[in-house]
């Protein structure tokens, strides 16, 4: 075969690979994309109560190695944890190629006893790895709310998470199973290695400071943003809510999440 024909044939093969990839991509997107977190501006709401705090008491939160929940570097205290699906995802990457933006979270606590620590967990589209906000060192971000309500009884339904690098957590706010055989709405948070997955997601109160900061407040009603500074696709975004006291029966947390597009 002459040289020119071989070139044309090779170009046709490459074009066919791209065409087949787009066909597969379109088919998969139509079949599965609605189940993932959305990046539209629709408001998503979630509400939890004391019975959603299903994990604990424990001093650490999930990562490749246990990391602190409260302010500071070292795990301490006895915390009860819940994971809430925010239903919206931040979008990073090249702003010329994607509609990039962050997630604004408005919260309202009712009868909060002690301190609540709010952390962000994101799932990587492609291989299921997870990100969370950095807990110590340069680039630390977090959000802590203190309340003055009297503590309630110890939650007998809560059990500590097993340590590891892969955590299967129940999504709070979803319908509670009526018996142990019923399927539970769970997600797997997998951290591949130490020092990985800590610099993508951040919690900030100011979108100009995208890498976030540590905020400690007594406002039971407020807002913050979850920003993403990586270039991959975030498939799901979860808010870890941890409290360092057993909560009273009247405890509640209402969340509203919405996608906020970056200004260009």
């Amino acid at each position: 075969m002459e040289f020119g024909r071989r070139v044309v044939l090779a170009v046709v093969v490459l074009a066919a690979v791209v065409a087949a990839s787009f066909l597969i991509d379109t088919a998969v997107s139509q079949a599965y994309a609605p189940e993932g977190g959305s990046a539209d501006s629709l408001l998503q709401t979630a509400a939890i109560d004391r019975y959603d705090l299903r994990y604990g008491p424990q001093s650490w939160r999930p990562y490749a190695t246990p990391i602190a929940i409260g302010p500071g570097d070292l795990p301490s205290g006895s915390w009860y944890l819940a994971f809430v699906d925010l239903g919206v995802v931040p979008v990073g990457g090249n702003p010329a190629l994607a509609r990039t933006g962050s997630v604004r979270v408005d919260y309202r606590f009712t009868d909060l006893a002690g301190t609540a620590s709010l952390g962000a967990y994101g799932l990587h589209v492609g291989d299921g790895r997870a990100w969370t906000n950095r807990q110590s060192g340069y680039g630390t971000s977090g959000y802590y709310v203190s309340g003055t309500a009297a503590p309630g009884d110890s939650p007998r339904w809560a059990t500590p998470l097993p340590e590891g690098d892969r955590y299967v957590v129940e999504v709070a706010g979803s319908p509670r199973p009526v018996d142990e055989d019923a399927a539970r709405n769970t997600r797997t948070l997998w951290f591949e290695r130490i020092n990985s997955g800590l610099d993508g997601l951040h919690i900030t109160t100011d979108l100009a400071a995208r890498k976030g900061q540590v905020t400690e407040t007594t406002d039971l009603d407020g807002s913050f943003y979850v920003t993403y500074t990586g270039g991959n696709r975030v498939g799901g975004l979860f808010l870890m809510v941890a409290v360092d006291r057993p909560q009273p029966e009247t405890f509640g947390l209402a969340l509203e999440s919405t996608f906020v597009e970056d200004n260009r």
């Binding site: 690979v17 791209v18 498939g235």
Partner: protein
């Protein structure tokens, strides 16, 4: 009588250095445009140049294997030992394209095809390894259309640059197209 080795000592040294260069470029240069396959601009360069200079079947495969071994031992990517497969696959593809076009890798069109094919095959092997390791197919396949296009474009750009370098080396007389340095 000792059987002569397929690659001469000179060729092995050259290809090992090119393989190491792939790893060094991968570790040292981050392309901050957040587009899949963009680092392929640098990855395919040493493999295409190596295959063009040695002009023997297996040259790209050897350099790809060296870079894969280095990448897996240093653990710079998430797949660790499985990284060997994608780097080697890239080398094998560049070898096959080189053979199909009679090692005319100084031609920018051939360079584009070699680089684009190498980079997109690397992507496919990467996805296949993820699937074998149990990652859900939907996670892998979402976005594969855009990803394959960018892998081809960036790999192709790297291949064109490699072809221009090879062409300049030929014209400058540093290497000769007809001289195969097969004696150690």
């Amino acid at each position: 009588m000792k059987r002569p080795s397929y690659f001469s000592l000179y060729e092995i040294a050259l290809l090992s250095l090119f393989g190491a260069l792939v790893f060094v470029l991968r570790a040292a240069i981050v392309v901050p445009i957040h587009t899949p396959g963009s680092s392929g601009v640098f990855w395919v360069l040493p493999l295409v140049v190596g295959a063009a200079l040695v002009r023997k079947p297996g040259a790209g495969t050897y350099a790809g294997l060296v870079s894969g071994l280095l990448a897996s031992f240093f653990g710079i990517e998430p797949l660790h030992v499985f990284d060997i497969f994608k780097y080697t696959a890239m080398g094998i593809t560049i070898d096959l394209v080189s053979i199909a076009f009679g090692y005319r890798l100084d031609n920018p069109l051939v360079g584009f095809i070699a680089g684009a094919a190498g980079n997109v095959v690397k992507m496919v092997v990467n996805y296949a390894v993820h699937l074998l390791l149990g990652v859900q197919g939907v996670f892998i396949l979402l976005g594969i259309g855009f990803s394959s296009a960018t892998h081809i474009i960036f790999g192709g750009i790297g291949g064109v640059i490699a072809a221009l370098i090879v062409g300049r080396l030929y014209r400058a007389g540093v290497v000769h197209q007809d001289d195969v340095p097969d004696e150690g």
